[in-house]
Symmetry: C2
Subunit: 617 residues, 2 copies
């Protein structure tokens, strides 16, 4: 095996461990097997480690979420604090902290996490049960309010945190605690036992992952039972609560990867098509409605009133990543990428201390990220997702090795046959489409390198060791099959022009408007860059060319777009409503118009923002 440059880090720290999943095509690469260079994601992961995770732990302590465990263990006499699902926020924080330990040996994080693990484990009941809400005066209500009270949801997040901790550190204290609770659940739930499911999906994914970690089929069986397979097989659309329906879809995908149940795969394909073709925001956001935090009807995608909860975008990324594994098709990687760079990343401030719950695509009122939310599911979901980013980037299959996401990084792992392989990736992606990959197998070997060709790309070129490579792109991946030897170099150049994107005309909220994109990045116009311009009432010309320039000082380093916006003059004298074309403004006023990445908005105080801009022919 090749020398592991990341040898001091966990090589078991999978987001999902699909190495042995019989119905999965491209298996994951551990988070710890990918070392990030000075690219896009590393500074965000560092900010997560240095700011986000410590700050959230302080908030969780300040709001009594850890004390809830101390109350149960008898270590502290306090009232229970927070919503019914507050335990899950602690667990998501723990998962985030554990995943940090998969890529660093941060002693502060390790020590803080050890402390929280101690509190959690001490709160476990004799029978394995653990939930701080159903204790004391509510102990008798255990498993009686599954529809509303997130009891198994909390357990699921506990399992995921424990798995992440075990994989990152090899330690067993928390993991054993999780197994005790999981075993208790398998005793209590299932056919002939408690035949109900939780109102909020989550534990199903976690149970399948516990099965992957332990081989115990009772966990997988319980996952299948809770997914309610027969009902899922009838599903034609994504619907209802956006996060829950995303999680149940991700759970069903995990279950399919293990079992190959064909009805589930058919349903998943139909539901994903429904989502991707009619219900997802251009940012990867899901959930059009405030009411019920719900998916909307097809093409119901309001902008200012978008709900697009950060957790729902994460659910989209989690699900799409799982389908990418099952299918090995670029459309899922496109969705994963869109979600991560846009609707997910908008959920957190650049310094990783403030959080959005809703992610509107236009804003003309006071709306900012907060350091704490009474329902803090999104912030804790963000920290665990940010800590896992390297695990989304590469894949391995029997045919070879896959590059799903481009970022400056080194993957040091192994092919399906166990032979070591290192891929060194140099790139300024997503600001530039040039990617230089050095492929270094342990010994020369014949396999395929699958390079993702993003759905947004229209023109590209590839060279292998300096010679143009002509290959076919199949399902979003360019396959380069050859005998690879150490230090073969692949140079990929994805052209990255600024594009004006239109929506399907059935999205009536986007009718007559365009969004600016470049590569995977969705842009927006925000008032701090356009102080002389009234953002309400601007339009852009479809013939205008926006220039892209990287500005290292702007918003932590971004490409900004520069073009022109037009504002009709004399508006204030004209009636609010008037016959079409009856108001002849003089020569309309042209203003310089600057667009920034959508994810970076709302980092400079109260602002106005718009993604979809009215366009003139």
């Amino acid at each position: 095996m090749a020398k592991l440059t990341n040898a001091d880090l966990s090589t078991e720290s999978f987001i999902i461990d699909t190495r042995k999943s019989p119905y999965n095509r491209v298996s994951s690469v551990p988070i710890g097997a990918v070392k990030l260079g000075d690219g896009f994601w590393k500074p965000r992961m560092e900010a997560n480690r240095l700011n986000g995770i410590p700050a959230l732990l302080q908030q969780l302590e300040a709001h009594g979420a850890i004390d809830n465990f101390r109350r149960v263990s008898g270590r502290k006499a306090v009232e229970r604090q927070g919503p019914v699902f507050t335990d899950s926020d602690v667990y998501k924080w723990m998962e985030g902290a554990a995943l940090v330990l998969a890529t660093t040996k941060d002693p502060a994080i390790k020590s803080a996490l050890d402390g929280v693990i101690d509190e959690v484990v001490a709160a476990q009941q004799e029978d394995g049960y653990l939930n701080t809400y159903f204790w004391g005066e509510r102990a008798g209500e255990r498993f009686t309010k599954l529809e509303s009270d997130h009891e198994l949801y909390c357990a699921g997040h506990m399992f995921q945190a424990a798995i992440a901790h075990h994989r990152a550190t090899g330690e067993t204290k928390f993991y054993d605690c999780a197994l005790r609770l999981a075993d208790y659940l398998t005793q209590e739930f299932g056919p002939g036992k408690i035949e109900q499911v939780d109102g909020h999906a989550e534990v199903e994914m976690a149970l399948t992952e516990l099965y992957r970690a332990t081989g115990k089929t009772s966990y997988l069986d319980l996952a299948g039972f809770l997914i309610n397979l027969e009902r899922y097989e009838e599903r034609k659309q994504i619907t209802g609560h956006a996060v829950r329906d995303g999680y149940i879809a991700a759970s069903a995908t995990d279950y399919y990867a293990e079992t190959g149940k064909p009805g589930i795969k058919n349903a998943l394909d139909i539901v994903w098509k429904d989502m991707s073709s009619s219900k997802v925001y251009i940012t990867g956001g899901l959930g059009a409605r405030y009411a019920g935090e719900a998916m909307g009807d097809p093409f119901e995608l309001p902008n200012e009133n978008a709900y697009a909860e950060t957790c729902a975008t994460i659910a989209n990324a989690m699900w799409s990543f799982r389908l990418l594994g099952v299918h090995g098709q670029g459309q899922y990687a496109d969705m994963l990428e869109t979600s991560l760079y846009n609707g997910f990343l908008s959920g957190v401030s650049l310094d990783t201390t403030h959080w959005f719950y809703m992610n509107p695509l236009g804003c003309f009122r006071e709306y900012q990220r907060s350091p704490w939310h009474g329902c803090t599911c999104c912030p804790t979901n963000v920290v665990r997702t940010l800590a896992a980013i390297p695990g989304y980037m590469y894949g391995v299959s029997n045919e070879g090795v896959w590059v799903h996401l481009y970022d400056d990084s080194t993957m040091d792992y192994q092919l399906a046959d166990g032979r070591g392989i290192r891929i060194d990736q140099k790139t300024h992606y997503p600001w530039d489409g040039g990617v230089r990959l050095t492929v270094a197998p342990q010994t020369p070997a014949n396999f395929s390198l699958y390079l993702r060709v993003p759905g947004w790309n229209r023109e590209m070129s590839v060279e292998v060791n300096g010679e143009e490579f002509k290959g076919t792109i199949s399902n979003g991946y360019l396959e380069i099959r050859r005998e690879w030897k150490a230090d073969d170099v692949v140079a990929l150049d994805l052209k990255m022009p600024v594009e004006m994107i239109e929506a399907d005309p059935r999205v009536i909220d986007d009718a007559g408007r365009i969004a600016l994109t470049r590569g995977p990045i969705v842009f927006c116009v925000e008032s701090p860059d356009n102080l002389n311009l009234p953002l309400r009432g601007i339009s852009v010309s479809s013939k205008d060319k926006f220039e892209a320039d990287y500005d290292p000082k702007l918003l932590g380093g971004v490409v900004k777009l520069s073009g022109h916006g037009e504002v009709a003059r004399g508006l204030d004298e004209a009636p609010l409503y008037r016959p079409l074309g009856s108001v002849k403004s003089e020569k309309p006023q042209q203003y310089p118009l600057v667009a920034i990445p959508y994810y970076a908005w709302a980092n400079r105080g109260i602002s106005q923002m718009q993604v979809w801009i009215p366009v003139r022919k």
Copy 2:
């Protein structure tokens, strides 16, 4: 005086009695002085009398709102029911019933109203206080929760109901009860006494009307105190809760009409300009936001997510009618008309039994009118407004007589000098712009007839006794000054083409869209008329001509518009988001497209609906 054809009806039944208001230009004409013919409004008022008012009384009884009074009087031992402001719903129902008695002698309404009056009066306390919420266990909280608990708001609606009843019937039982409460309030509130105002404006209008009815300046003074005049003089915009801010503006207008306080007039002009030029829906609806039921920012006017509470449209009509009196300018009559025919009338089903609270301008989800709302402010507001409609139609000033709204009707009233005058109006307005007026003064007299020329009109003609009349239109009214003698005939012809209306481009939710209007009516496309057409994704051509046809069998008799909608083909194969112009559909599919009056939508079961339609150049 000319023979009063309506002599059996009240000639004191003013919406607001501005006959003696020194700073009011055009005073009101009593509701009972206008007899409706077989035009637009009469069947709606009849449905209100026969269906709406009886049905709402049943609902109020069924939900314990009348029992609340019986509880206080000791006639029934029950728990108090409903929200804190439920008394006001009873009072608004009473006002509606009383106003019916201004135009009919319906014995069933009379008897029902007498019964409710008896219950209300019996609940009054010794000191004059009357509110069923602050009684018994909450008696000690009287006047301690003004900001949130609608205590004076309820009193205001009681005053308005009592005034309406007294004016319609001459009876004093309820009126005296109201005066006792009003006197109690003047003892308790004011400088040096309780120096707080109610969280929900309403009582201010009522107190000024009590002053008009009684001449007691203490009522006017208390109105001024509660309006908080100094703060209102600083106002630059309509803001906050849409109904409350509309009511306070209407209150301030009433107060100005009596006092001429110049700072108030300036503020009202500025706030009305802010409303009419940037914050009102094309339907007259107010309130863009669900959050706080609030006005939005300028040009924040979402369609599907419009709040546009029926009560807020009514507030707009009430305020605009008051400003029309003060200024005698057509812009206020335009707003009144727009509100009544569109955003107000959409609040009620055609049979006057089901009610909207929110009035969206687009709908792609399940949304229907309900026979009852837990917060039933809108239905009771609708019944009192429908019963008052004839009182909005005409006006009188020192210069002559004014026709504000066109409808088949006979006004039998008097000029400012007391000379009788009858105006007989024959028209099919709003379906046709032809209006034939027979003007019959008691004796020949020189005065002006002011005919409103609606803001929507682009072309018109007038004949007086068969000869073309050329006059100047000033501030929205055509003045015809001459010596009028019995049976002079004025023929007005307002051309009423179908128009495509655009919004100010700062209304980004309407960018690239048009609304169809004809005369005062705003149209919408609704799915029952367009079953073969997917309403999401249609567009219309700016060059298409929509034909208008009156269909007596459709929706109680409406003009419907017929034109074409276009749907691009092959949409399902194209990506949801794609480069502008990259999807070349074949020849787009043309469908017949039918539009109906907006007010009539949602009367045929669950439907989809859209006012603002994407337009192609």
